[in-house]
Symmetry: D2
Subunit: 343 residues, 4 copies
């Protein structure tokens, strides 16, 4: 039995821990051989492979990134993509594929399995925690820890200088990182993509915080938008020389608006890719390792078209299709819980 392995999509701490667990268990307990495909779906598409055995996975557990590389290549958008993949798998004598990735990467796996009989098992990966099929994914806890540490550090500066400090964190479509790190860090305002915010309300929280002689910390997800956002952001975009309004724009834009409306100085921190790199937290290593162990056991059991998922403390198997079923966003009730701490 030879199993192919690939990692697709954006970076996420824990990818290497999955790879290591798959290979360790596959080789030692099941006697399998492995083929590592380079750079996501580009690997089986172009026949680009890496040696993948026990020595290759030594020491990678604590390392961020992925030893296999990654890409956003979609074989369904490449000429003859599916045929080339099937040919390369056949040529490499690969009997089954373990695919580690997010909605897009696993969506390809689901179609390849359903429509073309490619034997795939999925491992969900999204730093944003926005896959509905699993309680948590690895990488998310690491990102939340990093953002929380940054917020911790900002508190003292905020209070010594009575300034507004705005922290822009990841989250284009779901506000999980902002919500968790904002709650854990004791932020005074948390703005997420799921809930359009009202600038007057935000400035009200800022002002009431200053009245209590404390300085506010505002956590804003990169995808958060003001209520009258289309107008406002078109205007902001006009001032932005990159056209990346969401990437680096909202934090700075918000700081400026708060300054001009409240008369208080505001400063911005944009954590950027720091949130998705580096060594995984203990929880993420644990989760990624268990996902890897269970994925290779699903292969051993011949349970293709499935992906592993966390439900409570248990790792279970669910249909691969669930990975792309529905974006898991922050429910209203949960955001309402956080509002206790606003202002």
């Amino acid at each position: 039995m030879r199993v192919g392995l690939l990692t697709g999509g954006g970076d996420c701490p824990g990818l290497n821990a999955v790879i290591r667990a798959v290979v360790r268990k596959g080789v030692q307990d099941y006697g399998y051989d492995f083929t590592g495909y380079r750079d996501g779906w580009r690997g089986p598409l172009q026949g680009s492979v890496s040696r993948l055995d026990i020595p290759a996975v030594r020491g990678i557990l604590p390392r961020g990134g992925t030893i296999l590389g990654s890409s956003r290549t979609n074989p369904f958008k490449e000429p003859d993509g599916v045929r080339r993949i099937r040919e390369n798998l056949a040529k490499d004598e690969v009997d089954a594929l373990i695919v580690i990735g997010g909605e897009d990467t696993l969506g390809v796996a689901a179609r390849l399995h359903e429509e073309h009989g490619v034997r795939c098992v999925g491992v969900p990966k999204t730093i944003d925690n926005d896959l509905s099929a699993t309680d948590y994914t690895f990488g998310f806890d690491t990102a939340v820890n990093i953002a929380t540490e940054a917020i911790d550090r900002l508190h003292t500066t905020a209070e010594s200088h009575m300034r507004v400090l705005v922290v822009e964190v990841m989250g284009r479509h779901a506000g999980w990182i902002a919500l968790h790190s904002g709650l854990a860090g004791g932020a005074n305002v948390i703005l997420i993509p799921e809930q359009r915010f009202d600038l007057d309300e935000v400035c009200g929280w800022v002002t009431s915080r200053f009245r209590a002689s404390y300085a506010p910390i505002v956590v804003v997800a990169e995808g958060a938008m003001p209520r009258d956002g289309d107008l406002v952001l078109k205007d902001a975009a006009a001032h932005d020389s990159f056209g990346h309004v969401r990437l680096s724009g909202v934090g700075e834009w918000l700081a400026k608006e708060i300054e001009s409306r409240t008369g208080k100085e505001a400063r911005t921190t944009v954590l950027g890719h720091v949130q998705r790199g580096g060594t995984p937290s203990a929880f993420d290593r644990w989760l990624a390792t268990r996902f890897g162990l269970h994925a290779i056991t699903a292969v051993r059991d011949g349970e293709y078209g499935r992906m592993v998922a966390l439900r409570g403390p248990d790792v279970v198997r669910v249909p691969l299709r669930e990975a792309t079923a529905r974006l898991k966003t922050v429910p209203d009730a949960l955001y309402a819980e956080a509002r206790t701490f606003f202002g």
Copy 2:
């Protein structure tokens, strides 16, 4: 409405986060007053109280320990204990109690509620993660992170000097911290109280690791015991001048045994209380905060005799009795997963 609050049992990062959330939501959203009882059940027993309002909980979210102090006092073992508690609650005009603690502390709350009609809501706390009623408790993730960081640091020394490094972590009756940190840290042997270990097998893993030109890291829970433990440990105890065989003994004892049986140098790290102090991890702050919010809402709903619990990503209410129902230990199947990485 006036609500009393107390924290009992051992230290656990996140206690202050619970207290803060209870008070913030109780005061702001429900208009309640609070009475802080000092040092666990000793507080209502002796009428020892602390002011507890919004200013009192400012800035405590990231701090370890508990601003209310703690103790292991059990009112059922004190003369006239229950009567004195009821009188003090009446005198303080306290209508309901939120009790934060482990099996013992919550067991008292359950009996006071069931047998004496004291209106109690519980919040589970155990750094060892050994309460069966909840998926996780706060403090555990912090402890696992700290132990994992220590193991990370030991890898380089182990390999540069080809030494066995033994890390003793907490866990008298349940091996969760050892299991999680050992897996996350890439330990080569993990020994837990649930599984008596065989010294020859341990030395076999150590030796096979050296043969592969790597040096082994052994994680041992303080309550782990060798298979022929009663005999062996009585002997070890005879050499130990404290009589605390479990507290500081197993790590040192194991290092010595490995040295003498394999001929390899072994060194020990005993993390001790470092694991249960200091700032909580982001996950623990999040969980503790949510527990606090849900506990005060349970009071508002008049749902006494219940405790909050984590089930998957949700906070639910379960009977207080469940807190003491059954020790949650590491299942055989889960330990078997970890064995893939031994040796």
Copy 3:
């Protein structure tokens, strides 16, 4: 003997450690009383004071910020400023002042001492490490550690996705933080205010790094400028809606330029005030504590008009005037050392 204490200028981890050491030694060993002045020179100017005794300094050693608050108020620019300060010191029966601050704050202390006989002892503070009178100041090591951890995390993302990652760190006039964190983090390009950079050269390093199959990390001090900077930045400023070109501009601008010139994707992290907040590193706590101990001993010795300074491993006393004598910038030879690692 009553000693006044104030902290001025920007935030810097270690301020509280100085305050604690001054008060602990002053009270216990010398029997002094203390008056804390609020918000830098605004305190003695407006007679705004804080109680400052042993209980007031308990637990503040590891905390960032300053319990006394800070400001950039300059009494020489306030109507009747010097007279009001002298009157308030007399009214408060303050015999001597310990002034903790940077070039501006200590410059006021030097003039008050020289021109008006106010008995001042200085403690140097600058997160940028740009005071020539002392080898190091507290806060700098903390900032370098934070920036280095961020760079560490970016490496894996850079390499998994073959992207350019730009990190903007503090340093308007001196590049010490960029130089130290860039070297410690293994950056491939380090740009500092002292050395105008050539965009073609930067892009050359970026390209050569990619050719070796690694992705580059570029550390840029907020005050770094391209060789033809006046022209280029005026243009960038026109696109910047804040007018704060130096605050948040250079990192983003550089990423955009590298993208358009090399065709490689580039992403930016702007650490901002995260670098100057939060708990001090062990080195900074040690240094701040020793500065505090030596400052109060200088008062005991009647050595006014002096400030404490670090020379090698020793704390010495130098004239307060030296604090403002000359900006300590990165020497050419030191920057040349770092160039070994560029590209």
Copy 4:
């Protein structure tokens, strides 16, 4: 020109950073070739070599340990040791040696250079900071940071439970780690090898701390000894089954004595090798990198028989003999500074 490189003695974060800097500058700027000798002096003694070029040093900057391995082998104690080393250097066509190590390792280099004309340049390494020839060595700052973080975490437990917490840190002959981490962590008692301690005085500090309603933290260097130590420790040794009184004994012994004399519960943390493993702090990476750059430049300049050293912020060259001249211990005056915070 071919340069040999070896690392000797105990583990120390920063060794790899030195190796990387030597090789990067040597290859790129001077065009040298390198031979890596394995396991300290055992390498040239037995002709055990490693490839050492730019690819070999990629990515090692942040890693603890040493890619070359280490040992305590002393060629002057091996039959024919010097002749074998000279023959192997000749056979390998090695023109000069860079030797990274402590007193013993550098003492060998000094003798080989002086007595046998072997061209050596030294890089000082001691985690204990006890070499008088240099202000600081790499590894020390990392160890102090780790110990300080542990002490930080213990504070909350100490205070929540009113227990004595004893932390045993490294330092057999010099108390630098205990002194720096104790001061930085706000310990209430610091015991070092240079100053025999009086148990009654220690218990006095412990008791007075409790009277102020705080719980004490005691930092003890592994080599600290009570005033009547020979008697007492012989007794303790009799209870110790390992005969390693200093390694793991003093902390436990002290906790027990404090318990029995003050009646207060005491707990121990033994950090052990956690202090000397893992990623170096930013300061240590900076220092190690600069030592490496200057060592290879000393080779280029033909300045043999010298070692690099830190003096203030500058790296200088001093005679290799100075490495072994005198143990740098904590001076009385410095320990007296720390006593301000005892009790």
